[in-house]
């Protein structure tokens, strides 16, 4: 028994003495963001540069836009980087957020098997969705209330088609973008993705993925990213000033240039478009 106690106390001491992972109160900014900015590695690339410029450490949790907005509404983060303009505008109008600034965009593309069983290649987004529906081709949807999912739903509506729900060819994964692409590949189906994640997917598969871009370039496929500070009257504890420093930095010329230079497989992932 004594030996057991000694072992437990010893273990407790070891744990206690383990290197502390964060020196508590250095300047820190907590962000909720979408899976695409994290999965592509953009934030891993920007965070050290932001720290070098301002001394502020950026921490982020990556979820769908739906949950990111919820975390902001509950005052759990200081700033958001998301891509669902209508939901963002509502968020600001409801008094949860302020200082919304557009920072960059990429675009959505429809990808599918090279054999293109539904024959959508080169069609407009409206016709492409109609063809998928008529041919009952497998289409995987995020189904997770994320920015990408909201965009996809709006495209079904824009094409005057009922939003599929229980149809056997419509697969709602409830997972992140790359997982959803992988499921589409397994089922030999189509899906809609942001271009950044697609390039990442391409690079994972050494530039030769089974799913290819079939529809792109439609104006409705634009994917705008914005940052929003959490409103300080709504959340007294949110670090409004630190969030302001980040917004100023990311919309500034230097960071915009960094975004422009961020490439994967030699392809740029995001196009900066902050109004200075």
């Amino acid at each position: 028994m004594k030996r057991l106690c000694a072992a437990i106390i010893g273990l407790a001491l070891v744990v206690y003495l383990l290197p502390a992972s964060s020196s508590a109160e250095e300047k820190m900014l907590m962000m909720a963001t979408t899976t695409s900015t994290d999965n592509t590695g953009l934030l891993d690339y920007l965070a050290p540069k932001f720290k070098a410029a301002t001394g502020i450490e950026l921490k982020w949790t990556a979820t769908g836009t739906g949950k990111a907005l919820k975390l902001g509404q509950n005052c759990d983060v200081d700033i958001l980087m998301v891509h669902a303009p209508p939901a963002e505008k509502k968020f600001v109008a409801d008094g949860f957020g302020t200082d919304r600034r557009e920072i960059m965009y990429n675009d959505f593309v429809i990808i599918g098997p090279a054999s293109d069983p539904a024959g959508i290649k080169g069609k407009s987004i409206k016709d492409a969705f109609a063809m998928v529906k008529t041919k009952q081709a497998v289409f995987t949807s995020r189904g997770d209330n994320s920015g990408t999912h909201k965009k996809e739903l709006s495209l079904w509506k824009a094409a005057n088609l009922p939003v599929p729900e229980k149809e056997s060819w419509y697969v709602q994964t409830g997972q992140g973008m790359l997982a959803t692409i992988n499921i589409a590949a397994e089922r030999n189906g189509y899906t809609m993705t942001d271009r950044g994640t697609y390039i990442k997917y391409e690079s994972n598969l050494k530039g030769n993925p089974p799913l290819k871009i079939l529809v792109e370039g439609d104006a409705v496929l634009l994917n705008q990213y914005s940052v929003i500070a959490i409103d300080k009257t709504h959340c007294a504890k949110a670090k409004y000033d630190t969030a302001g420093q980040f917004i100023e930095w990311i919309t500034g010329a230097a960071a915009q240039q960094l975004i422009k230079e961020f490439k994967l497989l030699g392809k740029p992932l995001f196009t900066p478009n902050a109004k200075m």
């Binding site: 028994m1 030996r3 057991l4 072992a7 437990i8 273990l11 407790a12 744990v15 383990l18 290197p19 992972s21 964060s22 907590m30 899976t35 999965n39 891993d44 921490k59 982020w60 949790t61 990556a62 509950n74 005052c75 759990d76 997972q175 992140g176 790359l178 997982a179 692409i181 992988n182 990442k200 997917y201 994972n204 959340c235 504890k237």
Partner: protein
């Protein structure tokens, strides 16, 4: 299929090359699971002893409740803990969201029913004559408690190992309460979820093997301890 083999080699590579991200996740996992197993044993063993040793009204239904709670889904615990520790929740002022202690609270809730239930079983299955023997030697209540625990030690250990396994491998609580923040609350399991989402299956397999290796070390030391005492 290739990525399983690839992951096997990557696991060695991660450990041997001292990959900073991997080690950060390993420390986070070891730390948080030690916090939570420590708390759940401290709270759970006395409660389990009480539940197993004494006869009282409502013991059976209570037992059923404890056994049912063993099936608590981790994501559900994560959601419950989040509701309390969010800035707008009752414990919001403590700043526990997105921290390791926050995760540990959830994991303690996860482990407690297992520790309580299995300790109660261990104490219940002790020989009744033992109690009489101890009492007849003039033991006081404290001594009775200690020596009963000592006799039930193997059962208690089995409970602790089962609880540790559940705590170390859960992902729902760590993801929801911890937020999978790099260098801070990214544990091995949330890192696996992330790498899988990113399509880096090999790395996911590698991290899974690392987790197994840690569990193996823990079990080796426990069985060493068991042989010694």
């Amino acid at each position: 299929m290739d990525f399983i083999l690839e992951g096997f080699f990557q696991a060695f590579d991660l450990l041997a090359s001292g990959n900073a991200e991997a080690y950060s996740a390993i420390w986070a996992t070891v730390k948080v699971s030690s916090y939570s197993i420590g708390c759940s044993l401290l709270i759970g063993i006395p409660l389990g002893f009480f539940l197993g040793y004494f006869d009282f009204r409502g013991k059976k239904p209570l037992r059923t409740v404890v056994d049912t709670l063993m099936a608590l889904p981790t994501v559900f615990i994560g959601l419950l803990v989040y509701a309390f520790v969010t800035q707008r929740g009752p414990l919001g002022n403590f700043g526990l969201l997105f921290t390791l202690p926050g995760i540990a609270i959830g994991q303690t809730i996860l482990a407690l029913p297992i520790v309580i239930g299995l300790s109660a079983t261990a104490v219940e299955s002790m020989d009744e004559k033992l109690r009489i023997a101890i009492m007849s030697m003039g033991a006081n209540r404290r001594q009775l408690f200690i020596s009963s625990l000592w006799e039930a030690r193997h059962g208690l250990l089995a409970g602790a190992i089962a609880a540790y396994g559940r705590v170390m491998t859960e992902v729902g609580i760590s993801m929801m309460v911890g937020g999978n923040i790099k260098w801070h609350t990214r544990t091995i399991t949330t890192a696996i979820a992330l790498e899988t989402n990113k399509g880096q299956f090999g790395l996911g397999v590698a991290l899974g093997l690392v987790l197994l290796a840690i569990a193996f070390c823990v079990n080796i030391s426990v069985s060493f301890l068991r042989r010694r005492v």
